[in-house]
């Protein structure tokens, strides 16, 4: 193993943390949907791809900076997620969890191929003048888009935390997650809460897409790469745990960055899946997982 000067290692850790926050944001949507609806949303990756295309279109057709595009895309994707759960996944599943699995898988195939038909398999990206900018933090050079991503991811997490703790809707979401019958008996419309939760998860993807776009490319399958990492984060953080998703994202970001440094860029993801297997072997409930 090579020896790197400490500032290089520090920079790798910092960049890992920055990227990890955005990973955490992708995982946040996944874990929230799992925690409340008790389903694995296989359409998460395709929805992320869709959001990235939406941000690209906002830039290419309307000249919107990806960061500005967050504002219109969040409500649009919330509505999209709400509608998908209420009109497609909910009715098609008929209360069977195994059906939901298939419905979300089918949805992802339809979405991916629709995007393939519309945008072709070419890789698209946006050109913004800050894409290559760096911020000097002491001896470290940090990429500007990643710093923004980190900040926004934490703002989103904080907003979500307040929403879940302080508002009736948020409490209803947490109530439905653990006790559906009790929730129905206090007058909570469980179907509505499911759809709101799915909408929030999808809105998180819209934010993540806008944060990723300045430094990543888009193609019809790009979302899957992120969601694979997000699954690992969800398992590491504890299925259904919101703080777990964020912390797990940071850990995974650092692991990826450090294994990229020591093992070479192409093997950066190796560390992630080693962690995945280790967690499953030794702490299957994850960092913040509920006791079985």
């Amino acid at each position: 193993m090579r020896n790197f000067p400490p500032e290089i290692v520090m920079e790798a850790v910092a960049n890992g943390l920055l990227t990890g926050a955005v990973y955490g944001l992708v995982a946040l949507g996944l874990t929230l949907v799992y925690g409340v609806l008790h389903i694995i949303n296989f359409a998460h990756g395709a929805l992320l791809t869709l959001a990235m295309y939406a941000a690209w279109v906002a830039w290419a057709a309307f000249g919107l900076d990806p960061y500005v595009a967050i504002l219109p895309l969040v409500p649009i994707f919330f509505a999209l997620g709400y509608g998908v759960q209420r009109l497609v996944i909910g009715p098609a599943s008929r209360g069977e969890d195994s059906n939901i699995l298939l419905v979300t898988l089918g949805l992802s195939i339809v979405l991916e191929n629709a995007m393939l038909a519309i945008f072709r398999s070419d890789t698209l990206s946006v050109q913004v003048d800050y894409a290559m900018e760096v911020i000097e933090a002491g001896p470290m050079l940090l990429s500007f888009p990643r710093v923004v991503g980190f900040g926004v991811a934490f703002v989103v997490a904080a907003v979500l935390f307040v929403l879940l703790r302080m508002t009736d809707t948020g409490r209803a979401i947490r109530a439905v997650a653990k006790e559906r019958t009790g929730a129905a008996l206090v007058g909570i419309d469980v179907g509505h809460v499911y759809a709101v939760t799915f909408g929030i998860g999808t809105a998180c993807l819209a934010v993540a897409a806008c944060l990723l776009l300045p430094s990543f490319y888009v193609n019809p399958r790009v979302g899957n790469a992120f969601v694979l990492v997000a699954f690992t984060i969800v398992v590491l953080g504890g299925m259904g745990s919101v703080p777990g998703a964020l912390l797990g994202g940071l850990v995974i970001g650092v692991v990826e960055s450090l294994s990229g440094l020591y093992l070479g860029d192409s093997l950066g993801q190796l560390g992630i899946f080693v962690i995945f297997i280790l967690v499953l072997l030794f702490k299957p409930t994850g960092l913040f997982g509920a006791r079985a």
């Binding site: 947490r174 109530a175 019958t181 009790g182 206090v186 007058g187 909570i188």
Partner: protein
């Protein structure tokens, strides 16, 4: 206040309720008794809109509520405290109570919260504790308190004494008497025959999905049929 007529309900191929009719009038305590599997909980599920009946009618305060959603039923003031409490274990005591007024009586939330704390001082002591960590008795208090937060017109209590120590059962029945004393109509669904009959104005005894006995509590208590219907002797 509550009128149930010829209710038939079940799950899949199984029929659980075979034509049940009952009434609860304002200010009354009505006991619905029956052994395990007699259909008590299914009856409550139908009344609250969680299970759709196959036929029959439920009217509440003069309005037909058959087929309404649980939210619509509880918005009308028919509140159920379910069997097994069904509190939110991951939420703290205050959040549980506040969600009791999620759809009804939200404007009076602060006032009703004080009222519930006055009735159950134990809940005030545990206000920030996760509900899942409460003892069984405290969880039952919380479930009733959550029901009270919605300002019920009729409160359905499903097996409030289940799983409680004899001392706590006594306390629970004292509490139900007190709530009734404040003018609340209560439908008490219980396995605990003697204490329920002491408390109730009238009683129904459910057996195999139909009422085997009905009448004033004192008469039901003296009826030799009670033992047969209840114990299956």
């Amino acid at each position: 206040m509550l009128e149930v007529r010829d209710l038939v309900a079940g799950y899949g191929l199984t029929r659980v309720l075979e034509g049940v009719s009952l009434d609860v009038t304002a200010g009354e305590i009505v006991a619905v008794l029956g052994s395990n599997g007699a259909g008590k909980t299914t009856l409550n599920m139908v009344l609250s809109g969680l299970v759709k009946p196959r036929s029959g009618e439920v009217r509440f305060a003069g309005e037909r509520i058959t087929g309404l959603s649980p939210a619509q039923v509880m918005a009308r003031g028919l509140i159920q405290v379910p069997e097994g409490r069904k509190i939110f274990p991951n939420l703290n005591v205050r959040e549980n109570l506040e969600l009791g007024s999620y759809r009804r009586a939200k404007a009076n939330r602060a006032k009703n919260l004080e009222k519930v704390f006055a009735t159950f001082p134990r809940l005030r002591e545990r206000v920030a504790q996760a509900a899942g960590t409460l003892s069984g008795g405290e969880q039952q208090m919380l479930a009733i308190g959550r029901g009270m937060m919605a300002e019920p017109k009729l409160l359905i209590l499903d097996e409030p004494s289940l799983g409680l120590s004899p001392l706590l059962v006594e306390e629970m029945f004292t509490l139900i008497r007190r709530l009734h004393g404040e003018g609340l109509a209560i439908m008490l669904v219980e396995q605990n025959v003697a204490q329920s009959l002491d408390l109730a104005d009238r009683a129904y005894v459910l057996e195999h999905g139909a009422f085997a006995l009905a009448g004033p509590a004192a008469e039901v208590r003296e009826n030799p049929e009670l033992k047969r219907a209840y114990l299956g002797l």
